[in-house]
């Protein structure tokens, strides 16, 4: 088959993107938990017959860039491609078999047409709870994965009458809010069906020759664009390091170090020198680390390059086994985003040495996760789960964005009115946090304040937070942002709480206040134009009052 022209190729590539988007809309519209339907913590993607990622929905980078890796692990360790069956569903959440952490349930389905496998469709959904030591399954006290919830190894089960399946029944019996998990899981299954139909339609329209040529060329095109971008980098080795605050068990800072160099059109990212894996749940499996690196490189080298497996080909990642960036079984991993975001901060920091005008200062660099467990009037468990963001890093030509979902995740927020309608809390404040952006010629974006009061006799609170000690860095003379904090107000007194917290008991009237970090500043603060300083003061983004 000769090559397809650029027009035909673009038409077919867009059709694959549309297939992934149709799947995404299906999950959004039918999901049940606030984490999926409001916060939008899910992703969808389509793959060719060999399991290579062709197109992604515009959702969460850390999911999207892990799904091809996950699929490769499945194919080589669990079920070779030729054994995938038309009517079966593949599902898993096991971090030690291609997953990232237990709340993320991943589903795949092979797409067949006239008896031949033509592609694979996949979804990844963050479920609000999969059991384990704390509500929301972010158990900060965990020291091994067994405490983190239900672990589902790769399974191949019939895709019909799914709720009656024994494996699904076991899942539902082990989680705090089975109705939500069931609803979100059905949304995932429904999206696979929609994706399957879309892939079949594309294949029928063009026929196998054009279809498979297009698959090859789509990947090739992205690969070539990536190689071209790499070729433009200066030929020097760049180093950068940053730290994760702690693992929740000791005060020891966790070092993440990376060096970046290019050899013959390839880019090598080496994490040698990073911390050994830790006792608490901030470890990353290799799939998570790869996903973070892919995102970090793509965002700087080619944000316009269509993201797919082709982009990954010129990238080599060295992450020694047994380190916090490539942990070994049975290390706990629930809070892996603390480290994964830091990987992005570090790779961006190293790239800033190579491309000083292209890389912004550090964004807040963590997923601010907490969960409150209460019971409803019928005594059923109720989980209020939150993932919050902070401020964006400033760049050479703009201030950082205030309260903006940056980097490795891409999350929305849950409306306060929605939370109050479902959970026994009253919010006192949800707003921007003045003075939290790093000063600079361009100012870092502001973080957020979330303060609420418990209106229930008891509640259990757990948190996986970060950036309380090591603030998001500034570049080019810009200052770091303000770090985050967590405070408990009880009986008129105030207590600073640690960033990682497992099952803290709360009582009626307790107030929890989370402040998230801003983004780093860019350029020396004394070069900030007077007009911008005046606006900052008039609008209270910056204040001389201690806040």
């Amino acid at each position: 088959m000769s090559k397809l022209d650029a027009f035909r190729l673009e038409v077919i590539r867009n059709a694959f993107v549309a297939a992934a988007e149709e799947m995404s809309v299906t999950i959004w519209r039918t999901s049940r938990s606030t984490v999926v339907r409001e916060i939008l913590d899910y992703s969808t993607a389509v793959f060719d017959a060999n399991g290579r990622n062709l197109a992604q929905s515009a959702r969460i980078p850390v999911h999207l860039n892990s799904m091809a890796g996950c699929l490769q692990v499945l194919i080589s360790n669990f079920l070779p491609l030729e054994k995938w069956q038309e009517d079966n569903l593949i599902l898993l959440n096991d971090p030690y078999n291609g997953g990232q952490h237990l709340p993320d349930i991943i589903t795949f389905r092979a797409v067949f047409l006239d008896g031949a496998r033509i592609g694979i469709v996949g979804t990844l959904c963050h479920h609000s709870d999969v059991g384990g030591g704390a509500a929301g399954s972010y158990y900060a006290d965990a020291t091994e994965i067994f405490q983190e919830g239900l672990r589902i190894p790769p399974l191949s089960i019939p895709s019909t009458n799914i709720i009656e399946n024994a494996a699904v029944k076991v899942m539902l019996a082990n989680v705090r809010e089975p109705e939500k998990l069931e609803g979100d899981f059905l949304a995932q299954i429904s999206a696979l069906e929609i994706g399957k139909q879309a892939m079949q339609r594309i294949h029928s329209k063009y026929g196998n020759k054009i279809y498979s040529t297009a698959c090859d060329q789509i990947l090739e095109q992205s690969e070539n664009q990536m190689i071209e971008a790499i070729a433009k980098l200066p030929n020097i080795e760049a180093h950068f390091e940053d730290f994760v605050d702690d693992d929740g068990h000791s005060d020891a800072a966790i070092r993440i170090a990376a060096s970046i160099k290019t050899i013959n059109g390839r880019i090598i990212v080496d994490f040698t020198g990073s911390n050994a894996q830790v006792m608490g749940p901030v470890n990353c499996t290799m799939v998570t680390t790869e996903s973070a690196v892919y995102y970090a490189l793509l965002s700087v080298l080619g944000p316009d390059i269509p993201a797919n497996t082709g982009c990954y080909r010129p990238i080599n990642i060295i992450a020694p086994q047994g380190t916090v960036v490539n942990c070994e079984f049975p290390a706990p991993v629930a809070g892996r985003m603390a480290t994964a975001h830091r990987i992005v901060n570090v790779v961006h920091g190293a790239l800033a040495e190579l491309l000083p005008d292209k890389v912004p200062s550090a964004y807040y660099g963590t997923s601010y996760v907490y969960a409150l467990s209460t019971t409803n009037a019928d005594g059923k468990p109720l989980v209020y789960f939150e993932i919050e963001v902070g401020g964006g890093g400033a760049s050479c030509n703009s201030d950082g964005a205030n309260a903006y979902s940056c980097g490795l995740h891409n999350l929305s927020n849950t409306p306060v009115e929605m939370i109050e309608a479902e959970h026994p809390v009253t919010f006192l404040e949800y707003g921007l946090r003045p003075n939290s952006g790093g000063s600079g010629e361009q100012r870092g974006g502001l973080g957020l304040v979330r303060t609420w009061q418990l209106n229930s006799e008891t509640g259990k609170f757990s948190a996986n937070l970060e950036r309380f000690r090591f603030a998001p860095y500034g570049l080019n003379g810009g200052l770091p942002a303000a770090p985050g904090s967590l405070v408990l107000k009880r009986d008129g007194g105030e207590t600073e709480l640690p960033s990682k917290l497992g099952n803290k008991f709360l009582k009626n009237g307790d107030i929890i206040s989370l402040k998230t970090s801003g983004g780093g500043g860019f350029g020396p603060p004394e070069k900030r134009p007077i007009k911008a300083v005046k606006t900052d003061l008039a609008d209270g983004y910056v204040s001389d009052k201690e806040l």
């Binding site: 027009f7 609803g183 793509l298 891409n410 306060v416 707003g431 921007l432 609008d539």
Partner: protein, 691 residues
């Protein structure tokens, strides 16, 4: 309104005016003769009412009527959209619950471009110094936690006074459950600021989700001074030229309202233009007896897609414009950034992109000769010969085929080492494919099959892409309306008065029987009162009630129509059944055992203001067919070129052929036939034997 018989009783002239960014479109219907006319004039952006009035005078001269004969004007305006696009707003203040003044700025903080490190542009609408926190708090159950603190309110009033604030928005937390505090604050503010417009969130959209409600009421507040000025200018200008017609303004829901309502709730005008196109498609669906249509309006910078299913468009209750959330009922329209002015480019190595960047009206496509150096979709058509450079826009705009060929060559053909014609045809194909994807997504969301639909192509570019799009999604019938380039205005001509009302009722549906009945009573009362204010007779009014339902825990509701004359248990049982069915149709599954939650009771009040069948078009003068060379399907072909107005009914014309209208061009490709329908529209059908 199911019969095709005319129920128009008036004898005067009815005019519909659709003011767009570049052109103002007119449709004129003379009810005494049954004739209708179209006209296009340039828009005057500084004060669009000026160009509007000039156009009316021009139309009267051209079509031979006097201005005083006009008895009804229906007007669609982009004034709200333009104000937002250009951020040209007066200074406004927001009063909200203490602790929540940043909700407007935080928004939902998600990004659309996953890999970009540049933050997306955000309209903050009201800056932080103009947002004030009021000491008060309503609980989630509707019980006040803290009363409105008058001292706190007075201190806010003091800060607003003499500070250049021209409009005020109020949005308090949980006001959707109990609006008491908002009403109290509103009353106080009216005393302090008798001349300032004050907008309350619960008057605009009494629904849960504080950001969406705040954003909606803030947009409303900011638009009020602008729309008030515009409407009073318009009324004065109309009066000055002797027009004494009743004026209606079209809203995003496809219905019209009085100028007074438009001034008070201008946030309802955002889709004022595009909703005319959807309304026109509904009208066409009825006329042609084709219940399922896809309406595709291809303009200069964007394409709007709406779906008519069983004769009706559907509505959405939440949407986004320029990144600002809007919780206002709107006709469901999907807009993509692809149109005649969309720019094509090659990023290295060999990755073709078309749009969403647009050349706009100035410099516009290179063919305009205004200095455009980038290749646009229009240039591709000129290079292919499908657009005749000498008869563009009634021949008033001279195009340069040479310039078009040059930009296609430099920007596309040379980098890809292809011929100019091949590049131009490829470019057109890529744009059509993007439009097809948008249509497929619109149908897909409703669980509908393209094979059950006909496509309607209109707007400046509809004629050149519609059949290619139809081929791409497997549709075999395409309609080109007689007035393709002023079709949205045509829709405005026949729009009804529509008012939407909503009451939030939250809980498992089986436990809400009493609340549903209470809500229906309140909604009916409000609706009848409003229709009476519009002087709509009872026999010309229609009330439609619906429940917004979802499975417990879902974020999105499906609207289920109910028969509000029935008792509660009948309504509930029927709604539950219909909900499961619709969920299954749209999302491929239903859960019969799951709890269904009611979120809101909605009522739409419709006042029919007349509708008429279109008379068959007069047979025009003798044919004047000429021939032209176009590049089509990989080769140069000599094709016949017809004038639309000269076509004869029942004559079957085989493609490839070009049909020209005063403001637009239609391409009927090989393998397709076309003929006039009895109402004077053009229908194209794929030939049976072709594949």
């Amino acid at each position: 309104m199911s019969s095709k018989k005319s129920i128009v009783e008036e004898q005067g002239i009815r005019v519909a005016i659709d003011t767009g960014g570049t052109f103002t479109d007119f449709q004129i219907y003379d009810s005494s003769s049954g004739n209708s006319y179209e006209l296009k004039t340039p828009t005057t952006p500084e004060d669009p009412s000026l160009g509007l009035v000039t156009g009316l005078e021009d139309a009267a001269k051209r079509f031979g009527f006097t201005l005083s004969q006009i008895d009804r004007i229906t007007h669609g305006t982009t004034i709200a959209t333009n104000a937002l696009l250009q951020s040209k707003f007066p200074r406004g203040a927001l009063i909200t619950t203490e602790g929540f003044t940043d909700v407007l700025e935080i928004g939902r903080h998600v990004r659309k471009d996953v890999y970009s490190l540049e933050p997306e542009h955000k309209h903050i609408l009201m800056c932080r110094r103009d947002r004030f926190g009021l000491s008060e708090r309503m609980g989630a159950s509707g019980t006040p936690i803290k009363p409105v603190c008058h001292k706190s309110l007075e201190s806010i009033v003091e800060k607003i006074t003499n500070n250049g604030i021209e409009t005020i928005a109020v949005c308090l937390i949980n006001a959707h459950v109990n609006a008491q505090h908002e009403i109290e604050v509103g009353n106080q503010l009216e005393k302090f600021f008798p001349t300032l417009p004050i907008s309350l969130s619960t008057d605009i959209t009494p629904e849960i989700r504080e950001y969406e409600r705040t954003s909606s009421v803030v947009l409303n507040a900011l638009l009020r001074p602008i729309v008030e000025t515009y409407i009073s200018n318009l009324e004065a200008r109309l009066k000055a030229i002797g027009i004494n017609a009743k004026v209606f303004i079209i809203q995003s829901n496809g219905g019209v309202c009085s100028p007074a309502t438009a001034s008070k709730e201008p946030v309802r005008l955002f889709l004022s233009g595009p909703s005319g196109g959807a309304a026109a498609a509904c009208h066409l669906s009825l006329l042609q007896n084709k219940p399922n249509l896809i309406a595709m309006d291809i303009g200069g910078t964007s394409t709007d897609v709406s779906i008519v299913f069983n004769g009706k468009t559907s509505d959405v209750y939440q949407s986004e414009i320029e990144g600002c959330a809007l919780k206002i009922p709107m006709i469901e329209i999907r807009t993509i950034g692809a149109g005649g002015g969309s720019i094509a480019s090659i990023s290295k190595p060999a990755n073709l992109r078309v749009g969403p960047e647009s050349a706009g009206a100035n410099p516009g496509p290179a063919a305009y000769g205004l200095g455009g150096e980038l290749a646009t979709v229009t240039d591709a058509h000129v290079a292919l010969g499908t657009i005749n450079p000498n008869s563009f826009f009634e021949g008033k705009l001279d195009l340069s085929g040479e310039l078009s060929r040059k930009v296609i060559d430099v920007n596309i053909a040379a980098p890809l080492q292809s011929s100019i014609e091949n590049a131009a045809e490829g470019l057109v194909e890529v744009v059509s494919a993007r439009m097809s994807n948008a249509i497929r997504l619109s149908l897909f969301e409703k669980g509908l099959d393209p094979l059950d639909f006909s496509l309607v192509g209109f707007g400046g570019g509809g004629g050149l892409h519609a059949i290619q799009v139809a081929e791409e999604i497997g549709i075999k019938h395409v309609l080109f309306p007689r007035y393709a380039s002023t079709f949205s205005a045509y829709g405005l001509l026949w729009s009804n008065i529509i008012h939407d009302f909503v009451v939030s009722v939250y809980g498992p549906i089986k436990e809400t029987g009493k609340q549903i009945i209470k809500a229906i009573e309140k909604l009916n009362k409000d609706a009848l009162q409003q229709l009476a204010e519009d002087s709509i007779a009872l026999k010309n009014s229609e009330l439609k009630t619906a429940l917004d339902l979802r499975y417990q825990g879902q974020a999105f509701e499906l609207s289920i129509n109910i028969n509000s004359d029935q008792d509660a248990s009948y309504i509930i049982d029927q709604a539950i059944k219909d909900f499961h069915d619709l969920h299954k149709l749209r999302y491929a599954y239903s859960q019969p055992e799951a709890v269904i939650e009611l979120v809101a009771v909605r009522l739409r009040a419709i006042g029919t203001i007349g509708y008429s069948a279109r008379p068959a078009p007069p047979c025009m003068s003798e044919e004047s067919i000429h021939k032209r060379d176009i590049y089509h399907e990989g080769a140069v072909k000599t094709v016949n070129v017809y004038k639309f107005d000269n076509l004869l009914a029942n004559e079957i014309i085989e493609g490839p052929v070009i049909i020209e209208q005063p403001y637009t061009t239609i391409l009927i490709p090989a393998h397709w036939n076309t003929q006039l329908t009895e109402f004077g529209d053009l229908e194209a059908t794929k030939r049976e034997n072709s594949e």
